[in-house]
Amino acid sequence: MLRPPYEIVLKPYGKALVELARERTDIICLSGDLTRQTETDLFRDALPDRFINVGMAEANMIGIAGGLARAGHTVFVNTFGVFCTRRCYDQVAMAIAYPNLDVKIVGFMPGLSSPGGPSHQAIDDVALMRALPNMTVVDLADAVEISQAVRAVVERRGPVYLRLKRGEIPVVSEASRRFSLHEAQVAKKGREACIVASGMMVPAALVAADVLDANGVSTCVINSPVIKPLDAATIVAAARGARAVVTAENHSVIGGLGSAVAEALAEAGVGVPLRRIGVADVFAESGSREYLFDRYNLGVQNIVDAAWITIAPTKPVPAAPAMPLTAGTYAPV
């Protein structure tokens, strides 16, 4: 995978969905009064007959999606992550997950990437969706993966929760990357420390691994966009023999990637110390991504610290490089 600063792409999801829907006439696109914000203005303008703005009525939107799917449609539901998970959880469970329907729920603005405060910050969406039987859970913030994931989630029958970054989408993967719903990606090899990351935390994980490597701790990075079903085999293989495993997610440390990895390692009998980087079981506040990621310990330095303190507690922790944000590019905090 590439290193920052990253080139930025706009609307990779919106474009991929339109392209696929031209082929797959069973696809219907629903929006909950957040059409431009969810990149589905492209769908609305290109395929207006198959676009429906349900308005600000998320529970109703989920129920409508269920009915359409029972009648044979593949339905994409688009809104912010908080509003398609927390706000209508029972509807998602009963109208979509239980009947195992072809509804792809697309939730934008993950974790602390929203300036809108706790009502807009999806810090529990992965946990909620992961707890539902039949649900596949995918956390993406890379334009290359997003373009491919749209087709992949349609080809996988049944409900999917697709968690997407909103706005400027960085190109983190090489063009040769092949996204898979079954396999996590070993993005960088290493033996002593193992970082498992998803979504917006992948760039920070890569930089942190480089810092650790440069300071004598050989570190691997597993990019695990699919949180359920987790590719436990790849993660367990990388963790076995390491002296520290660090998970990094833009989500609560409870119930998301960190929890999934902990379960996988424990069940495989891998007794390596695990540190979870994520939102520490608190509601945050308003603020820019840079401000909030720094304030809530979602930065490169936090990942470096977690690995270093576990492996070399007596030695001073190496400092992460500053990540200047230049206009038109993306970098981790």
Binding site: S31, D33, L34, T35, R36, Q37, N53, G55, M56, A57, E58, A59, N60, V82, F83, R86, R87, P115, G116, G117, P118, S119, H120, F283, E285, S286, G287, S288, Y291
Partner: protein, 291 residues
């Protein structure tokens, strides 16, 4: 962390948070409510102008509603409840609170910035509100809770809740409406900023809310429709009484751009872009009204 907003010597309880004080102090009464509304808009232009975009349309459409609520002698500070349902309307709340002396005007400069207490979408940390929630259409239920609590306490507090029209699309609004009427919560007054605007454009292009007043009446409410840019009419309707014990809804018909001539009619009122030229033009138009 930036400094906390200064509150002009008043506790964050202010006109909301009745838990802090007993008794019923006199409400704030401002002589010229139209002028107050213009000053609220001016504050909002300056606040949103710092970033160059934001929730300005909400202040342009709801300035008279807030002038009526905060300066119209309706709410007894620290006693009556004020619930702000659409949290992105926080800008109008801050501007109005500053105008009636509940918030230091200097604090407005921190609006929407990292570390501020004056968040663009109001939260549990927001000063001077009894209730707010950025996940829309939840607050009306909490307002009902306050009205029930007043009934248990046998006090005479009124509960005011500002709602936006987009919120009428959520089912929770109507669950609450049915309940409040069934329980004859006549101390509850809902004010709707019916500006026909939501994120994706005009509300009536997304869904049909009308006939709005008839819907509320059918749910058992006393519904009044007024020009939402006439602050005195808003005050009168919120002060009006009736023999029947029903909750009151005042539907304020407004324009998202507040009828400003300097803003192009095609502008996205929900999230207004305010470049320096437009900002200057809007300020000039508003200042001319005050001259």
């Amino acid at each position: 962390m930036q400094k906390r907003a200064r509150l002009n010597g008043k506790s964050p309880g202010g006109c909301g948070d009745g838990r802090l004080r007993a008794g019923a102090p006199a409400p704030v009464r401002v002589g010229d409510l139209a002028r107050l509304a213009t000053r609220i808009r001016l504050h909002a232009v300056h606040m949103v102008g710092i970033q160059g975009f934001g929730y300005l349309g909400q202040a342009l459409s709801a300035a008279e509603i807030f002038a009526a609520l905060y300066g119209g002698g309706l709410m007894r500070p620290g006693w009556d409840r004020f619930c702000l349902s659409p949290a992105h309307y926080a800008v109008v709340h801050y501007a109005a609170a500053a105008e009636v002396g509940l918030l230091h005007p200097e604090a407005l400069k921190s609006y929407g910035r990292d570390g501020t207490e004056l968040e663009a979408i109001s939260t549990e940390r927001t000063p001077l509100l009894d209730l707010t929630c950025g996940s829309l259409a939840q607050v009306i239920s909490g307002a009902i809770g306050f009205a029930l609590a007043s009934r248990y306490a046998k006090d005479d507090r009124r509960v005011f809740a500002l709602l936006s029209d987009g919120e009428m699309e959520e089912g929770q609004t109507w669950e609450a409406a049915m309940f409040a009427a069934h329980h004859a919560l006549d101390r509850l007054a809902v004010v709707i900023d019916a500006n026909n605007s939501q994120v994706d454009g005009q509300v009536n292009s997304v869904t049909t809310l009308e006939p709005l007043a008839d819907k509320w009446r059918a749910f058992g409410w006393r519904a009044l429709e007024v020009d939402g840019h006439d602050a005195d009419a808003l005050v009168a309707s919120m002060q009006s009484t009736a023999s029947e014990r029903k909750p009151l809804v005042v539907i304020g018909r407004t324009q998202i751009l507040g009828g400003l001539k300097s803003v192009p009619a095609t502008a996205d009122g929900h999230f207004l872009k305010l470049d320096p030229a437009l900002k200057a033009a809007v300020i000039a138009e508003l200042e001319a009204r005050l001259a």
